[in-house]
């Protein structure tokens, strides 16, 4: 399962990386935008996150192993943090090999000017920030259901809405609301970071959202005691 996700993600990400290369042949384009500016790449990221997080609690709930886990002498918070850390590390493992694309690009295009590492670095920064936030959301959704399919679909829809909030904005009235949605929309953040522009606001936004959903997951697991 893990290897399938990893391989599938790298194939899709590779295709998405090649596309702007071919399209913009001979033109000037930001190096970071090659990978992090492509919508296909982000859809693959969102799908990968949904697939990584879907079994976290749903599968344990279905098979009953959750009962074994939660009656061991560990706190619910420890269980949740453990699962979160596991998913996050796997997400890093899945996404880091994409760095090879840039290295390969440099190797096969010797005529190219020296690679500008800054947009690449900031690109990964926003990728992992978004990952850490969306994985927390996916984990939360997984803690609510015993069906992995429901968890995956629920997570994918939730993080897609969050990611494409600036599109959602078009359907809502009010300048203030629209501005707020644009501020929260990941597509905006991604475009900035892919050009090497670092803004601290999204960093705080994603990290605080991640903390919130980790906390919400703990509460969702504890809820068994009150139902």
């Amino acid at each position: 399962m893990a290897y399938v996700i990893m391989a599938a993600f790298l194939v899709v990400a590779g295709l998405s990386f090649c596309r702007p290369l071919v399209q913009h042949l001979g033109e000037r384009i930001g190096i970071g935008e090659l990978l992090f500016g492509a919508p296909y790449f982000w859809v693959a990221v969102l799908a990968a996150i949904a697939l990584i997080t879907m079994p976290l609690f749903a599968e344990e709930r279905r098979t009953g192993t959750l009962e074994m886990l939660l009656t061991a002498p560990v706190t619910d918070l420890q269980v949740v943090l453990g699962k979160y850390a596991g998913a996050l590390i796997f997400f890093l493992l899945v996404t880091t090999p994409t760095a090879a694309y840039f290295i390969l690009l440099k190797a096969v295009a010797p005529g190219m000017a020296a690679l500008d590492w800054m947009p690449i670095f900031t690109g990964y920064l926003i990728l992992w920030l978004i990952g850490s936030c969306f994985i927390a959301i996916g984990m939360f959704v997984s803690a609510l259901t015993r069906s992995q399919v429901v968890a995956a679909v629920g997570c994918f829809v939730a993080v897609s809405i969050l990611f494409f909030l600036d599109t959602v904005r078009l359907f809502l009235p009010g300048a203030a609301v629209q501005a707020a949605l644009t501020y929260m929309s990941s597509t905006q953040h991604v475009q900035d970071f892919a050009r090497g522009v670092v803004d601290t606001r999204p960093i705080v936004f994603y990290l605080s959202l991640a903390v919130f959903f980790v906390f919400a997951t703990v509460k969702a697991i504890e809820a068994r005691q009150w139902k």
Partner: protein, 325 residues
Amino acid sequence: MIKVEHVTKRFASAKAVDDISFEVLRGEIVGFLGPNGAGKTTLMRLLATYLAPTQGRVFIDGLDVFLHSLDARRRIGYLPENAPLYPEMRVDEYLSFRAKLKGIPRRKRRERMEEMKVLCGLKDVERRIIGQLSKGFCQRLALADSLIHSPELLILDEPMIGLDPNQIRAVRELIGALGRRFTVVLATHSLAEAEAICQRVFIMNHGRIVASDSPEHLAGQLQGNVSVVAEIAGPPEEVAERLRCVSGVLTVRLVGPATSGLGRGSALWRRYQLGCHPGTDIRPAVFGIAAAQGWPLRELSLEVFELEDVFIKLTASAGRGQTSG
């Protein structure tokens, strides 16, 4: 070891456990017996700290499981229903994971794992993937896991499901042997199991405890529970009349002709069942009558009701009470 005070667990629709109180002493083997849906599993989950009671309190070794959940859990080995395991792990991997989770220090981990594998007969499958194991091995692996941190209290929910008769005997003996060192609480719907293992049995129905005692006493508590079977050759009406006059006899019932195969000789052989007051032995009197009348007597035996009869009587009548009330 366990003290349960007026515990109620209410789910959205119904009370799964309804105002239960009991105590279990250290070293006891206690069984919870009841039909499906009686609230046994919910009660086990409450004891194992997986669920919290809606009302009432549960103490394990003097610790309120709600306030000192982790300390209580260290003392508990819990085997949930159907022995849930991670199918993709190997037996060794799983045990080592659980040992780590339960905070067994690294130095002692290997040693404990070896002990458990020998105790539960898992030596031959230690490298196998759990998903490929038979139900019996899974059950034993889950049992090994529940014992690995040397708990003081063992909570077993239907530990014999899916085992073949040999394995049942082996697990029974294992639990019996453990019972000397641990306190064991098990939920089961098998009467034979409760009778064979437990020193004390609680019978549950509709979330309540409807009876509790040792299996023998429980059977002895039933009213009119003693009956004597006699096989006598004599004129049936006269025999029945005479037997009815014996003091202590409440009912006389003809339970058909004599047992087959041995019926040669007199055609008057009949089998009588005599219901009598508990605590009186009417057999000498029955023999006296037969001897005085010159009726041959070839069987005279005391029938003691089995736990099964008690179980059926209690759970069936409580069921009626619930529907009418």
